[in-house]
Symmetry: C2
Subunit: 273 residues, 2 copies
């Protein structure tokens, strides 16, 4: 799926919502716990309830790795389930990987060949070596951390450089040369919405993956105001505010309602595209 | 294991070698391929052959994740094997993780509670949030990327900051406040040996994990010259130069010989401690 195809999906569904599958087994409704793979049952219900309102799912690897081999199996199962049932959906493995060349090659195989997701989030600290092996896969995306939504993003990401500009701007300016708008996205936190305008001056055309709307306090209106471009250019992620909106037997229905409400808000923001 | 205990292990074994288990199933000797878990068989043989000469093993997660659920199982098996048979060995999961607080908590559980390794490598780009949950586990180590051994380390890590100094120095100066010499190490590539002297001026007492000796071209003598402190303060990793030294039925024996040769070189460097 290239950028134009992603935009067409967004226009068709009137949604640029990405649902974050940060599934913590301690937060799953009690009635599911008797299932052999309760995490998968939870995810499957969430996916079926939210699929009409979203273009993207983003499982966060940490939540699966915490359950060891069983968690890893559960992750593979939900990725296969989405791929089979909703083949137009973009799946981003939120893994924040990054290592030297021969190791990044193995990670690229892990995510693009074994797990078969469409995109993976990457940490840029170690430079181009860490990203290049991912970019060599056709029709796959590298999603680079630029300016994240957490409070300590200010520890390093916003440091002023001697050559001018901030570190995250340098990360964007340098890495935008490695790939193209069809295989590179950037993570920009919704809690930093005013900085989206600065980022749009550097990369007017790239897609941005925006976490932090909802539980972390970011505003969808602000994100769209500063970050939207002529092909939308945004995937806005919501995890906890959707998947844990209700903890009863109605959890999936309520998650669907939350996703639909976000889709409705997004449809209004998309009306001129 | 705190820093003093690690130093005592190093002194007892006259070695500060860490063997990197970057086990690529495509590089395993042919006669092992009939085993149900050839990667585990390979790792077990390497571990048994090298254990007398090393204080540390460092499985690189990418190589296991590339084989999906089976790889993840294989990784758990070798970690358990080492813990049971060689309980004094430090095990570092080379994972280079890093995410917002609630996610890093899940990663910390994955590595310290489920997998039960002693240490994990972490990427500092997103700041303190990403490291804090790991530091709250007693007797466990966070190993932060500072100055890595790959060519593109120069893309960002060595950028000059407006406030003075380079990015990797700032990462060290800031993060050294988060933990202590008993729970924080830094990754400093052997290919940057001359910079070890600068780093030692900032953190004279911390342990450094030094990759890049061997296949990547770094020199053990140079690393010891610029990086060693009064409690050694170094773990030097070698992966490919040991585990793939021979590809016949003698692979384990040859790996043991390579590790012993490094131990001998290290023993000479340790003679005044």
């Amino acid at each position: 799926m290239n950028a134009q195809q992603l935009f067409e999906r967004i226009r068709t569904k009137q949604s640029f919502l990405c649902v974050g599958l940060d599934t913590d087994s301690a937060k799953i409704p009690e009635h599911l716990l008797s299932h052999e793979d309760a995490v998968f049952e939870f995810n499957r219900s969430i996916v079926d309830a939210t699929a009409p309102y979203t273009v993207c799912y983003k499982p966060n690897l940490a939540f699966y790795e915490a359950a060891g081999t069983k968690g890893w199996q559960s992750l593979h199962k939900i990725v296969s389930y989405i791929k089979d049932k909703y083949p137009d959906m973009l799946i981003i493995a939120d893994a924040k990987r990054g290592d030297i060349g021969n190791t990044s090659e193995m990670y690229a195989r892990a995510f693009f060949m074994d797990m078969k997701v469409d995109a993976v989030t990457l940490s840029p600290y170690m430079g181009q070596d860490t990203v290049k092996p991912f970019l060599s896969f056709p029709d796959k995306w590298s999603v680079l951390l630029a300016l994240t939504s957490n409070p300590s993003a200010r520890d390093f990401e916003t440091l002023e450089l001697a050559e001018g500009g901030k570190l995250y701007e340098k990360v964007i300016r340098t890495s935008m040369q490695w790939g193209s708008v069809d295989n590179t996205m950037y993570v920009v936190g919704a809690t930093q919405a005013q900085m989206l305008a600065d980022i749009r001056r550097i990369i007017p055309d790239h897609f941005l993956l925006v976490p932090g709307v909802g539980a972390q306090g970011g505003s969808l209106q602000e994100v769209a105001r500063y970050g939207m471009n002529s092909r939308c250019g945004l995937l806005v992620n919501s995890s906890r505010a959707i998947i844990y909106a209700d903890k009863t037997v109605h959890f999936a229905q309520v998650a669907g309602q939350q996703a639909r409400a976000m889709r409705d808000e997004m449809a209004a923001l998309l009306k001129n595209l």
